[in-house]
């Protein structure tokens, strides 16, 4: 137990000092925290509940748009902002900027959660591949719709508010966002860690294993499914709002409702790490991000070919992921005792 706490403290310390040890990689590590949030929350559906969704990107994009819209709309007319391409005409003062950011991030969590609750009843009634394809359609439709709305810049997208002048330089800005991302990641992790130990986590696993039986046991499965989706949507929405601010530019199909990048990444990361485990998505996200940042540049435009190949390889050959592999190798670490004599007897029987 003490070992475990020591491990957590080490990781926490790494997260806190990382921007000073690797100052050049601040943005990359911030994006890594975001990716961890995405894969952790995907795993609530995909791993724990057995509902493989392609649609969590919907909440990511929604959060991105809502956060920036609030940040701007609180102080300036939104339509003029997007029409003029952003910072040229309006400038946030520092208090305005931070007020806007706080309000924006709060709403970036709440509104996607409400959307999830609203559409959840209809969509979570679908099962298996129907759910997967329905959510895939939802994510793409949202991107296409956002590309047609003039208020948020239509196909050209919009800029999120730039860092206010007068307080620090871009270094401070990236440190600031780094710590928000880190704190959000830690919150998500701790929240889910707690949630999986409660009845909620057990019910999610029951739904994954056999939904009909769970229902027959008297569990209102729909209620739990919606709750799970709402939780995911909340954290993904805030992550989206942060991402929009870090990139500084929101484009409907490429960054916000980016089914081809983040939408696929979150599925791939969770599966790579091992779905249905707490640490799997985290490890998967870190491994994937290191792979992505380390090798992306060598592919020179062949990234998506590599991504496609990676998906196929991971899905076909390692559907259990890294955690599943470790579990097979060292089952005693997971509290699965194996009776050595019994095992030998079985091997001899074969």
């Amino acid at each position: 137990m003490n070992q475990k706490i020591f491990l957590y403290l080490c990781l926490l310390a790494f997260g806190i000092v990382a921007p000073f040890i690797f100052p050049a990689f601040k943005l990359q590590i911030s994006i890594m925290w975001i990716l961890i949030i995405l894969s952790l929350t995907w795993d609530v559906q995909g791993g724990q509940m057995g509902y493989n969704t392609f649609g969590n990107i919907l909440f990511f994009g929604l959060g991105m748009y809502i956060c920036s819209s609030f940040q701007i709309g609180l102080f300036f007319p939104l339509a003029e902002w997007t029409a003029s391409g952003g910072e040229k005409t309006f400038i946030h003062t520092p208090p305005q900027y931070f007020q806007g950011l706080v309000v924006g991030l709060i709403f970036a969590g709440i509104i996607p959660a409400l959307v999830a609750a609203f559409i959840g009843y209809g969509i979570l009634g679908l099962r298996g591949h129907y759910f997967a394809i329905c959510t895939l359609g939802l994510g793409i439709a949202a991107g296409e719709l956002a590309g047609g709305i003039e208020l948020v810049g239509a196909g050209q997208g919009m800029t999120s508010p730039p860092w206010p002048k007068g307080i620090g330089d871009t270094e401070l800005r990236s440190e600031f966002f780094y710590y928000i991302c880190f704190v959000l990641m830690v919150c998500t992790f701790l929240f889910l860690r707690w949630a999986y130990t409660t009845r909620f986590g057990l019910v999610l696993n029951a739904i994954r294993d056999n939904e009909d039986k769970a229902e027959a046991m008297g569990i209102n499965t729909m209620q739990y499914k919606i709750t799970g989706w709402v939780v995911s949507a909340f954290f993904v929405g805030i992550a989206g709002g942060l991402m929009g601010n870090m990139i500084g530019y929101i484009e409907p199909v490429e960054t916000a409702f980016a089914g081809r990048t983040f939408g696929v990444f979150m599925v791939l990361m969770a599966i790579l790490g091992g779905k249905g485990t707490l640490w799997g998505p985290v490890i998967g996200a870190i491994a994937f991000h290191i792979f992505k940042e380390g090798f992306w540049t060598f592919f020179l435009g062949w990234q998506y070919v590599a991504l496609g190949a990676l998906i196929v390889i991971v899905v076909i050959f390692f559907p259990e992921g890294i955690m599943g592999w470790i579990r097979e190798k060292y089952p005693e670490k997971f509290g699965e005792a194996i009776d050595e004599e019994d095992r030998k007897a079985q091997v001899e029987l074969k």
Binding site: L126, A132, G137, A141, R260, G301, L307, G308, I316
Partner: protein, 286 residues
Amino acid sequence: MVQASLDGILLGILFALIAYGMALQWGVMNIINIAQGELVILGGYIAYFMYVAGIHPAFGVIVAPIIMYFVGWSLYKTIIFRVVDRDLFISILATFGISILTQQLMNFIFGSDVVVAQSNFGTTFLFNYMVTLPNAKIFAAGISIFFALLLVLYMRRSKLGRAIRATAQNARAAKILGVDTESVYAATFGINAALCGVAGSLIAITFTLHPYVGLPYTVRSFMIVIVAGLGNLPGVALSGMGLGVFEEFSDYIFGTEFRIAAVFLLLVLILVYRRFKLSRKREYLK
């Protein structure tokens, strides 16, 4: 109005052809192929390059299926056979990976420009020049119907067709009775790819091609199949035409920039509607 309906019906026949391929391999192999649309676009590029080489692109409907059959066959032999008996989501994700891969490869090899193969078929005017119909579209619909009927006949009469139908009914029993299900699966996937090739080369002469427009074709065919049901051919044709008409009218009402959004939203609506209808009987979509 008449214009939009006619356009929609001709377009819908093309969609139905793609959906037919999807229904075939879904029914036989229990796989949902997200890369279906990419196979269509790949077929389209074959016709386009025939056009570039100076051959009339309409001959693409003969060349494209032959090439695409081998593409599909080799795709099966390299990747798909590993996911046939596994969870459906694995096959969805694996074919999604294939779809991303092919999109990007096409982008590199063929360039990211929107291309079109000119067929120079001329135009037919109906009702005193009120309605214009490009002959290419009529040609496309005709060829689609021809290939669909050909395939139906083939499935009914030939030995392979019988083997495919047997495997679809019960793969294990078919295996016991001496059907080489492995090669039946490969052939099914090849036939599906060939159908996509035909549809793609028809799309090349009637519409435009672009490496990234594959996914809407996948979703359309998926939608047609779930509305019609597996193994219901007249249903596939009808719902294909219905979808075509819906799209033309949505262009009319919401504008062309919302066309893709309308298609995807329709998919969501249909699925949710079916779910509510079934949940009254305490059932769900299987």
